[in-house]
Amino acid sequence: MFSFILRKLATVIPTFIGITLVAFALIRMIPGDPIEVMVGERKLDPVMHAAAMQRLGLDQPLHIQYFRYVKDLAQGDLGISLVTREPVTKEFLTLFPATVELAICALLFAVLVGLPAGMIAGLKRGSVFDHGVMGVSMTGFSMPIFWWGLILIMYFSVTLGWTPVSGRIDIEFDIAQRTGFLLIDSWLSGEEGAFKSAAMHLILPTIVLGTIPLAVIARMTRSSMLEVLREDYIRTARAKGLAPTRVVVVHALRNALIPVITVIGLQVGSLLGGAVLTETIYSWPGIGKWLVDSISRRDYPVVQAGILVSATIFIVVNLFVDILYGVVNPRIRSAK
């Protein structure tokens, strides 16, 4: 098992080096150099320009700049935001929990609805329920989620007035940040109505961000279930007289879940991409919105950091899924 984990880790290292190269190159590929971007439209005296270049180490050869970048990175230094002049790492740490909270809720929503729906659809193949689930998931899969977000706001927030339009919590609540997860923080604060407000703010973004993963998980669970139910060991289990529920839950589901786990892992990527859109629609103060805002403000160190961090999360999660896969399925562990 240990060597399996090590082997998986080794495959990730070149990818990660590639990602740092891309992030490093990004800021050097934009038109103009970082100093020109920093001063903006104003004219810059060439002497001052050269001095600034030297101060930031931009006059050094590229490979030395790259090694310095990686060295800073290893110390958790992602550079300084051009707009707020704050360290990017600090900004990132305050915004990151918001995205994680939203992503976890969305994934939970997708798994809790998608898994049972896909499973039942697979078991009752050809039924009205099956067609319903397939139809809904096909629609969900084709959904432009930024529009879906607007439609939900239009109906639930504007017409019915049930949920708030944007943000994480009503402004009257001033919740001390402990974990960064507002659901937990507002619960801990004990302020009346704070938890409810945080939860209400979370509902629509969760549905919007969870829609595509939900559709994918339901479809995958269904087809994986159908495949497993055809296997010989299921027939054997039935033949030896096991109760139908036991056959489904113990024998079929366990094996059917293996490909579903991979799909859930891959959905983390679409969650990161979807977060950009969902957070923009709901003014959710997370890294997705931060990234989009930074692009329009030409705040390149932030963009660079955002790309690096998203890719790293994606790599780490998929590494984790790969390892989990080996835990669930011993055949993969021993394979080359």
């Binding site: 990602i19 990004l26 934009i30 990161l272 950009v276 692009i295 329009s296 963009v303 890719a311």
Partner: protein, 301 residues
């Protein structure tokens, strides 16, 4: 229709491939309906100039935010209503079809062709070029599609051509991996060996011997890539990073519509429904294509 013709060229071993394909394809009723919807969207896109009742960028300042014709206060000249600048929404949607389909088609082509070439190279030369290509693809896959697109737009700047390039680069790894996997499965089969022994060069082996036999999964993937390209174009437009106004692009139309969500819901609804119906029809068609092209799944069904 073009896809069918391609398929006929690609799978020549059947007695009448086109007929056989149509038989399996038309077995799936949803896919047939989807095909007709999609064909009508293409029709709208191609003949936008003749079909659209108004100029898509003409601003009728006296009729700003007119509701759709069936709603109270609607006018029959503006069938789906007008937007905040008094532009006819129907005409913008019809012209938008041209832009969305064009971007999607070009971006699929721009990633399909290099993707196939890179995938074949990786399969035929696994030691040298293959390792390098697949490592680079791994790096590209580590960035979720829309983030990679944003990353590229940051460098190139927003715009129609740059949107195409960004989407094409984002989907390149999937075609490369798919072609490589399909080619690896074919490469050791007898007909390839026979052709090699007969003296066929590497290029001939790659493009004329192996590639035609790898086309089925690539075509299915291209269909799905087409629909996700439409979604991504719209998403980039919505974020203000894609096609710039006043060009009538579906996503760009939505980004402006946000502010009118209370006063003029049709400004929000119409472009979204159009995107959803188009993407849904392509995905349903892709399902039908997969059933018709992949004999393994056909038997299972």
């Amino acid at each position: 229709m073009t896809t069918q013709v391609q398929i006929a060229d690609v799978v020549p071993s059947y007695p009448s491939p086109l007929k056989e394909f149509w038989q399996s394809f038309s077995h799936n009723k949803g896919a047939v309906v989807a095909l007709f919807i999609f064909l009508s969207v293409i029709f709208c896109g191609v003949f936008a100039g003749w079909i659209a009742p108004h100029d898509p960028v003409e601003q009728y300042r006296d009729h700003m935010l007119t509701p759709p014709s069936w709603a109270g206060g609607g006018m029959s000249t503006y069938l789906l209503g007008t937007d905040e600048l008094g532009r006819d929404i129907l005409s913008r949607l019809i012209h938008g079809a041209r832009i969305s389909l064009f971007i999607a088609f070009m971006s699929v082509l721009m990633s399909l062709i290099p993707g196939m070439v890179l995938g074949l190279l990786a399969a035929f030369f696994p030691k040298g070029a293959g390792t390098v290509i697949m490592r680079v693809m791994d790096v590209m896959l580590a960035l979720p599609g829309i983030l990679l697109a944003i990353c590229i737009i940051t460098i190139l700047g927003p715009g129609l051509i740059n949107t195409m390039i960004a989407i094409a680069i984002g989907t390149l790894p999937s075609y490369t991996r798919l072609t490589r996997a399909a080619a690896m499965a074919e490469i050791n089969k007898e007909y390839v060996t026979a052709s090699r022994v007969a003296g066929a060069g590497a290029l001939r082996l790659m493009f004329l011997t192996v590639l035609p036999n790898c086309m089925a999964p690539i075509i299915v993937n291209a269909t799905l890539g087409f629909s996700s390209a439409i979604l991504e174009t719209a998403a980039l437009g919505f974020l203000g990073l894609g096609v710039q106004p006043p060009t009538p692009e579906w996503g760009t139309m939505l980004s402006a519509a946000r502010d009118y969500i209370e006063r003029a819901p049709w400004v929000v609804t119409m472009p979204g429904v159009t995107i959803l119906v188009t993407v849904l029809s392509i995905n349903l068609m892709g399902d039908g294509l997969r059933d018709a092209l992949d004999p393994k799944l056909k038997r299972a069904a």
